[in-house]
Point group: C2
Chain length 394, copies 2
Amino acid sequence: MNQRMYELGSKRSVIREIFEFGKSRAAQIGAENVYDFSLGNPSVAPPQIVEDTLIELLRSDNPTAMHGYTSAQGDASVRGAIAEYIAKTHGVECDPSFLYMTCGAAASLTITLSALCNRGDEVITFAPYFTEYKVFAETAGAKLIALASDPETFQIDFNLLEGAIGKNTAAILVNSPNNPSGVVYNEQTIRKLAEMLCKKSKEYGKTIYLITDEPYRELVYGGVEVPYLTKYYPHTIVCYSYSKSLSLPGERIGYIFVNPKAERAKELYLAVCGAGRALGYVCAPSLFQKMVAKCQGITSDVSIYEKNRNLLADALRKFGYQCVQPDGAFYLFVRALEEDANAFCERAKKYNLLLVPGDDFGCKGYVRIAYCVSTEMIQRALPSFEKLANEYKK
Amino acid sequence: MNQRMYELGSKRSVIREIFEFGKSRAAQIGAENVYDFSLGNPSVAPPQIVEDTLIELLRSDNPTAMHGYTSAQGDASVRGAIAEYIAKTHGVECDPSFLYMTCGAAASLTITLSALCNRGDEVITFAPYFTEYKVFAETAGAKLIALASDPETFQIDFNLLEGAIGKNTAAILVNSPNNPSGVVYNEQTIRKLAEMLCKKSKEYGKTIYLITDEPYRELVYGGVEVPYLTKYYPHTIVCYSYSKSLSLPGERIGYIFVNPKAERAKELYLAVCGAGRALGYVCAPSLFQKMVAKCQGITSDVSIYEKNRNLLADALRKFGYQCVQPDGAFYLFVRALEEDANAFCERAKKYNLLLVPGDDFGCKGYVRIAYCVSTEMIQRALPSFEKLANEYKK
């Protein structure tokens, strides 16, 4: 038996663990009495057009083709529609022959990292970061290096980055809007990042690639812009998922876009195809491929998340909690009210508040609160948050 | 960049290669003039109840739950329905907590092999075998050892197997009904296999596991029985897919069933969960999980494949081709009419017959003919098969 796999299976992702706890707790005391803020499972329904399009596709007169294998890299017309949308929306070059359809963001990342990395390579990311990055990097034989961010803004700390890039650095992995902080990298951060990667690539005589994990691209509030990274740094690979924008996380549909202007883009794309094959992906689910092609530019009603963010962030601040204002995604990353965030989360459970300690996101002393829940549940949970805060005021 | 992935991406599966060639050839001379026997893409439509169930599920009043994340191992009620069906149909113990839903057979295999194997391990299979087994074993750090089968029957050659099992053997991988030969292992073969694995496990002081890849279980003809392997050998892991039985290969839905009576079954199941996580699978597609739960025991109309088999096998024999009678799946594995099967396939292309050379299945001198096509196309293609055979009679 493989020991690494056994350990990954028995010590599961802390988020999944709490989610499972929440389900069993709900069975005991009723779902309405559990305030589960653990999982990034969208609470806003998929847009009606998703259902309508799926039903229309299901009624097509050629179901064997509809449900048949697509090309391994994805149906050609689907990739055509997505490439057109990317080019038009972001004003960048995008070519369907550099798009590879995947089973969601996790697949996009494991495939990209496996295509890019060799044993001993390093992948740099910035804390707080999505807990599974470490697992995905290690699957690719690489080591994840997580750097602390500027504690005031959660933007990149470039002094730390400069010192961390070395001859083994294969890629930088960014996630904006960020899970778990909700922070969006501003244009200044992106420009400085691109500059540094150019400089360091030259210094080490090799191309350092930029991997951008973008499932939350469309979930931004107050008119904030999310820069499209291929415009700033050519050696960029975009990992996208429709899980959050179309509220379909269980359906596993997304894509990888290798910027055609990246160094050795064609070979890199072929390595992506090879990695998809090696990891057993065959093709992305056919029906959902065809659906997303018809729903480009459409998102769930993200105004509900904005309303939740404002309600929760304002109330928590009033109760004495602190957090960096999140401009996107659907998470608040809040300072725990004691040093040990795990102890804080245990205490929160007394009030049936299920929060995720920040330790596994590479940030001790914080908790993640996923506000992709009903607004009404947030309202009901607020007294519990207040009571929890009051415990620490005694 | 990772060289292995680049090579896997640039030198793609020979089947996929021919399939892509067929698509471009069809664009040139019209799809009706290309006799594409390359791909195991079911030609029989999914049963109507698949469409009806999918539409019913899509209209459920809770679309966020319908499309939301399931537990990583799969929705509990889905696993319950499948376990019940397995137990009832095969008269074996099956427990939902030993079922793990996957994105199809390839995922089932990469996950199982990654859970089971360590670097340097060997996995034994029997030629002819599905070309991708080698890739999947190598992803798990293992080496695939392919043994020739009895040339008359394509059943296991136990003399060869006895000599091949050694201290590094982690698992035996079988596929019955077989792709590409269509052969079903009879009960005698299975009993002898179980006996030998017991003996060898004892000899080496470790459990040799049996992995059974079963996407074709329901596609058998003439009342042939496919033994259920957990009954014969406890240390069995069943890798299943609905791709062929429900004609949904593009949708990627299947499962892994770790026999609860296997040595260290609980740990092995956890390693399966870990491997799914490490490879980026998150969960199997939610809508299709819920659909298969409601379609247990249902298959596409396999009588069409039986008709195709009879039509094609009889005609080819009449033209002078030789093949072992296939009892299942939807492939004929036919002796090429010259020593070099690749040259034979090139010659077949002149008649717009797209066949797959057997070399990549570990059997030189054969070709695979996938008869999961329309009966009418087979009829139209017969004169081409005859002309091709006649070339060799000159």
